[in-house]
């Protein structure tokens, strides 16, 4: 079974870049362009790992993490924050909301792929 990744980012460029590297590495790639769509997609796609940006319209990355990690249907899949931000307070917020990790953009293809492979435990 292929590993499903859901990437939530409002930048088309970043979504495209992620698509290239992750599809190239054998992941099944899904994307959403803001937090609200991301949460919707999550229930539809049932991804094995989520990558989310922080600064997005409609619902930001914190909102995504909080939504996915709360309520009766809360998920345990890894949620990785991929952002240009690196402030300690922001990281603390993401951590409190239930983020699994924090990667600062720009990402390195190979490293991102290896992180995702390890996180999902699938050697795709």
């Amino acid at each position: 079974m292929t590993t499903k990744v859901l990437a939530i980012d409002d930048s088309r460029t970043i979504r495209n870049l992620l698509r290239i590297s992750l599809e190239g590495a054998g992941f099944e790639f899904h994307s959403a362009c803001d937090g609200v769509e991301g949460v919707e997609q999550f229930s539809e796609v049932e991804p094995d790992v989520v990558i989310t940006d922080i600064n997005m319209p409609n619902m930001d990355g914190f909102g995504v993490i909080e939504t996915l990690r709360s309520g009766p249907n809360r998920t345990t899949v890894p949620i990785i924050v991929l952002t240009t931000e690196s402030g300690a307070d922001l990281k603390a917020r993401a951590r409190a909301a239930g983020a699994t990790g924090w990667i600062v953009k720009p990402f390195d293809d190979a490293s991102l792929v290896s992180v995702l492979r390890r996180l999902t435990g699938h050697m795709v």
């Binding site: 930048s11 460029t13 919707e40 345990t76 690196s86 990281k91």
Partner: protein, 713 residues
């Protein structure tokens, strides 16, 4: 999709983001407290930075970062927006646009203005913000070292320098007992161990003592704890960074072991490779597996349309190819139509009905295809706000731009080719149109001048107006200047409109000395020609003390037009219907000879010069009698009402415009060519030019163009 095409999408996206930025900044000006707008502006800058980082566009990244940091202070309400800051934001937006453009074209941006703006932006930042300078290289390196919890590079580096200068090997003992929440947040102890192992020599021991009997096993519990020993040259903070995201979700104890003894535990317990990963159970109150669909929520939201309407990006070349093919289709349809007529088939009524339906469909397709090329003038107008800003700055005036109807759609080519003339006119409006603030105050006006840009569709044409609320044209000065330059004879008596139109004469400039702003060797004549090349016209309306408005009238599309198929000297030609006011079949008594060659016609009490099209084009007229043929009444800029004489009007039809310049060469009096139903090529006449070709002296001095009549020989 290749990386190169992603680079292209990035720049496309940048354009959209820059548009959103400009729009957001002007909304901010109106309501600086609207946090949604501030957030949108912040996000636009932020997204440009994020994308730029992916392509290692360092200058763009660092400028965007500084811009964003100041914007973030506004967002955090640490910084209050005032006119000065707003102005800086606008300039920063402009600079960002320049940097994007430079990056796209792979050339060096203007370092001077960049440095100046950066300096000003920096002045809003405290020392702490400046330390947080942004560098992507370091992040990437850091990323390789510690895969999951990547730490902000600057902190890690600073601390690493301070603490681990000696590079000595240290030994840490780590006790790590995850709580259930650690698994619930998607963490995996093995990954943490991997990260630790990259720092040095790691030994791991699992403590399975809490593991219950098989029957009592709780899949949601977190029962395994670990003891680890790490030998590394890294300082303790680096270890904490690895645990950064789990520290609150587990019991963690890291201490440096300065003693020489190794805890016995290490050797006794199982090592990492033999240990299967512990179950990562969902939380106790959530028995459903995490990947089960939370369906209720999903279904409720899925049906709703949300966000912007979906769009499709298409290569412009494909659209143009399609437009061209549709053009051929229209021509082909005209040919078939003509063939059917020629066949003179008996009882063709049903065939012609079907054919009419086909014609309508073809027209629908054509309109649909044309609509693809139509774009709102908004981006063009938005660019003008920058021009106004720069022009105001350069001239020391105060100006703001008001745009109206910026959703009006115009053919893409028109928008592109309008950019230069519009820029020039907007600059002129600020430079020559508006008064200085004190002069405005003296005449009781608001000190900030208004430049008004408006676009609208009216009767099949696009109207674009550039207005200012300045002093209006100084007609006395214009006339004086024209006389001085020998464009007009001193004794000439010109109407106000004629004086205004002097501005369009080549080589005319009212500014006594060429200002470095408007006067770049480009006059209004260039503007006029550019607009004329698009099939449009410019006119001026000016009221002393209240301002001047330039109006550009353009055709909706450049690809097709409705025309009369006419005969000129036995040749079939086409003349645009839009230019024809009425057609007249002249009776001999209305025609009057003037001089030896001139003829005028009396049209409802006014004498209108008659221009023989064949004669002006240098063809020998087929018939010599003045009363023969048909007169087409047109309104020309240079000569007012004029009657064009042609031999006959055959048909009225839509023709596809084919450029003559690109296929043959420019012919005076002819704007383009088309292919008719019979497959023959017909020239499309430009009435304005045809009239100008007139070799003989014009008929009535009072309505002749100053350009022709009043210029020195």
């Amino acid at each position: 999709m290749s990386r190169n095409s992603i680079r292209d999408t990035f720049f496309e996206e940048c354009e959209e983001l820059l548009e959103a930025l400009v729009e957001g900044l002007s909304s901010m000006e109106q309501d600086p407290d609207d946090m949604d707008v501030v957030n949108a502006v912040f996000r636009a800058v932020h997204s440009i930075k994020g994308g730029a980082g992916a392509f290692a566009l360092d200058r763009l990244v660092s400028f965007a970062h500084t811009f964003e940091t100041v914007m973030d202070k506004v967002r955090g309400q640490e910084l209050k927006v005032n006119a000065e800051l707003m102005h800086l934001f606008h300039r920063s937006g402009d600079q960002l646009a320049d940097l994007v453009e430079a990056a796209r074209d792979e050339r060096e941006p203007n370092a001077e203005s960049e440095a100046a703006i950066l300096k000003e932006l920096d002045s809003y930042l405290g020392e702490a913000d400046k330390d947080d300078s942004f560098s992507f290289d370091a992040v990437t390196l850091e990323f390789d070292a510690a895969p999951v919890e990547v730490e902000a590079p600057e902190e890690a580096e600073a601390e690493a320098e301070a603490e681990a200068e000696d590079g000595a090997l240290r030994r840490f003992d780590i006790r790590f007992k995850p709580g259930p929440a650690l698994y619930a947040n998607g963490h995996e102890p093995l990954l943490l161990f991997d990260a630790l192992a990259e720092l040095g020599d790691l030994r791991v021991a699992a403590d399975l003592s809490d593991l219950p009997e098989f029957d009592a096993f709780d899949p949601n519990g977190a029962v395994i704890s670990w003891t680890l020993q790490l030998e590394t040259t890294e300082p303790e903070t680096v270890l904490h960074e690895i645990f950064e995201f789990v520290e609150s979700l587990c019991e963690l104890d890291i201490r440096e072991n300065t003693g020489a003894t190794t805890p016995a535990l290490m050797d006794a317990a199982a090592e990492l490779p033999g240990l299967s990963p512990p179950p990562a159970p969902p939380d106790a109150d959530s028995p459903i597996a995490a990947t089960d669909p939370p369906d209720a929520r999903g279904d409720a939201q899925r049906g709703e349309a949300r966000g912007p309407r979906p769009t499709l990006r298409v290569d412009l070349e494909r659209v143009d190819r399609l437009i061209n093919t549709v053009g051929e289709l229209i021509i082909n349809q005209a040919m078939i139509s003509q063939r059917i007529e020629e066949l003179e088939l008996p009882a063709v009524a049903h065939l012609t009905n079907e054919f009419e339906a086909y014609k309508l469909l073809a027209r629908d397709i054509q309109e649909g295809v044309m609509a693809i090329r139509a774009q709102p003038v908004k981006p063009l107008f938005q660019r003008m706000s920058r021009i106004v800003r720069e022009a105001a700055e350069a001239t020391g005036k105060k100006a703001r731009l008001v745009t109206v109807g910026d959703s009006t759609e115009v053919d893409k080519t028109v928008i592109e080719r309008l950019a230069d003339p519009l820029t020039h006119m907007v600059r002129n409006a600020v430079d020559h149109g508006l008064e200085k603030a004190d002069a405005r105050a003296a005449s009781g006006k608001e000190s900030v001048g208004t430049i008004r840009l408006s676009a609208s569709h009216r009767s099949g044409s696009v109207f674009i107006e550039i207005g200012d609320d300045g002093a209006g044209l100084n007609r006395a000065r214009i006339l004086e200047k024209a006389i001085e330059k020998g464009l007009v004879l001193p004794e000439a008596e010109l109407s106000e409109t004629e004086i205004d139109n002097l501005l369009f004469l080549p080589g005319f400039s009212t500014a006594s000395e060429v200002s470095n702003l408007s006067g770049r060797g480009v006059g209004m004549d260039v503007v006029k020609n550019a607009v004329a090349a698009l099939g449009g016209r410019v006119s001026i309306a000016s009221t002393p003390g209240a301002g001047t408005t330039f109006t550009i009238v353009l055709p909706l599309t450049l690809a097709v037009m409705d025309g009369f198929v006419i005969s000129v000297a036995d040749q079939t030609m086409v003349i645009p219907i839009a230019s024809i006011i009425e057609t007249i079949r002249p009776s001999q008594r209305d025609l009057h000879a003037v001089g030896t060659k001139g003829v005028v016609i009396l049209v409802r009490g006014a004498y209108v010069p008659v221009v023989d099209v064949a004669f002006n084009l240098g063809l020998s007229p087929a018939r010599k009698e003045a009363g023969d043929g048909v007169l087409l009444l047109v309104s020309t800029e240079s000569q007012g009402l004029t009657a064009l004489r042609v031999e006959a009007i055959h048909d009225q039809r839509q023709v596809v415009i084919k450029s003559l310049e690109s296929n043959y060469a420019a012919i005076p009096g002819v704007s383009a060519a088309t292919i008719l139903g019979d497959g023959k090529i017909a020239l499309i006449l430009d009435p304005e030019e045809v009239v100008k070709l007139q070799p003989a002296a014009p008929f009535f001095p009072a309505i002749t163009p100053p350009k022709l009549e009043l210029r020195h020989a």
